[in-house]
Symmetry: D2
Subunit: 130 residues, 4 copies
């Protein structure tokens, strides 16, 4: 099994949307996830450091993100965590990426108007609603 | 630590919104989470049974859900799982509830237009966006 | 995707181990997961209610649990959550089950001596250790 | 809320145990988490790349890890994910760390003999076992 994470945070860059030469839609953006922590020596809540992620999505999710998510939005993301070392000859580093399986605007921070554009997905049936 | 879950599914009832006598907004609805599984004897994908949850939210999240989420929507929910036995004298049973910390429309299934109405939350600072 | 949970708790029953007529090992036990919560009206930590789960495991994991886990142990479990309504004609109810993908003794609560008896699993390669 | 992860993998370094000058036990090791993925072009399962984490634990959990976990063991870890950029003047990079709240030997891969040495934890009561 891959490493699953669910994170909530602030969209820190304008989502970048491309379509590959063989027709695959891809959207990605940077997400900053911060939290508060209790400092026992100071006996008060202080800012914890933020975790920064690159969020990547494919196919219909990528298309919907491109038309729905803007820099500054608050979102919830769940998906697979990928930690990769990279080296482009000049510089080297580590990227921390979440390949999203689902993303939504976090209603803790605002309201959203939803327009459904997928009726059935191959691997996920519609449960009967009673 | 409480038991955390992240689930995606279909909103199966119209969200019910109340405000308690001491002013606490509460919204709740039923969520059906289904998935496909591979049947090795049949050698094909078949419908798995759905998990049903009662989703409950409080305060600003409850207010935003009431004005944003409708029966039939696809959502992503993360929060604390509570499993409770109940007995009202006539009948007894087990409820499975998720107290949501974040909810959003699942952009795998559609587009959303977001209007932020919370600027800062007490325990969660805004990371500096560069 | 199925609904994933990770829980830590107290093994509340002696694990029950069976082998089905077609040779499948199955082990199951009940797990109680409790936590402390802060009561703002009392201004102190109080006991939260416990979540109770039936933990089920198959194959080699089932065999290893049967020889390793005892009632009263503290464990960590990760797996797929299944919520099922049942009705045996006389009584009806809801079961909350976790089909475990991994289980271990929680070293927050004690020490363990480990003897590995699986070298390679079909779907999970051994990473090269440097 | 902090970013929670649950991971299973191979202990890739001998755990390093220290006690700070003010008496805090800390244990850390490297964990390699790999998985198999299905290659549609090749139509077969292939090795996915491994995610590498630094696992860190404190207090009693640190003490128990130091006496229980060895390089080459298979473990399950749950905790808080911390992604940090570092720069020591000569080199810079990104560390991916999990501050563990619970760790155990993964019984999918072997057997363990457990000796409990913590009876009650301040914030976690013992549920009544019936």
């Amino acid at each position: 099994m891959t490493d699953k994470v669910t994170i909530t945070g602030l969209v820190a860059t304008t989502p970048r949307h491309i379509v590959t030469s063989d027709g695959l839609p891809i959207t990605s953006f940077r997400l900053a996830c911060s939290y508060r922590k209790f400092d026992r020596t100071e006996n008060k809540w202080v800012d914890g450091e933020a975790n920064w992620y690159t969020i990547t999505a494919f196919k219909q999710l990528a298309i919907n993100i491109a038309s729905s998510i803007n820099k500054g939005d608050r979102v919830i993301v769940t998906g697979d965590l990928h930690i990769r070392d990279w080296d482009n000859g000049e510089r080297a580093g580590t990227s921390v990426e979440v390949e999203a399986t689902a993303i939504g605007h976090d209603l803790s921070w605002g309201m959203s108007v939803f327009t459904r554009n997928v009726l059935v997905r191959e691997h996920e049936p519609e449960p009967e609603v009673v």
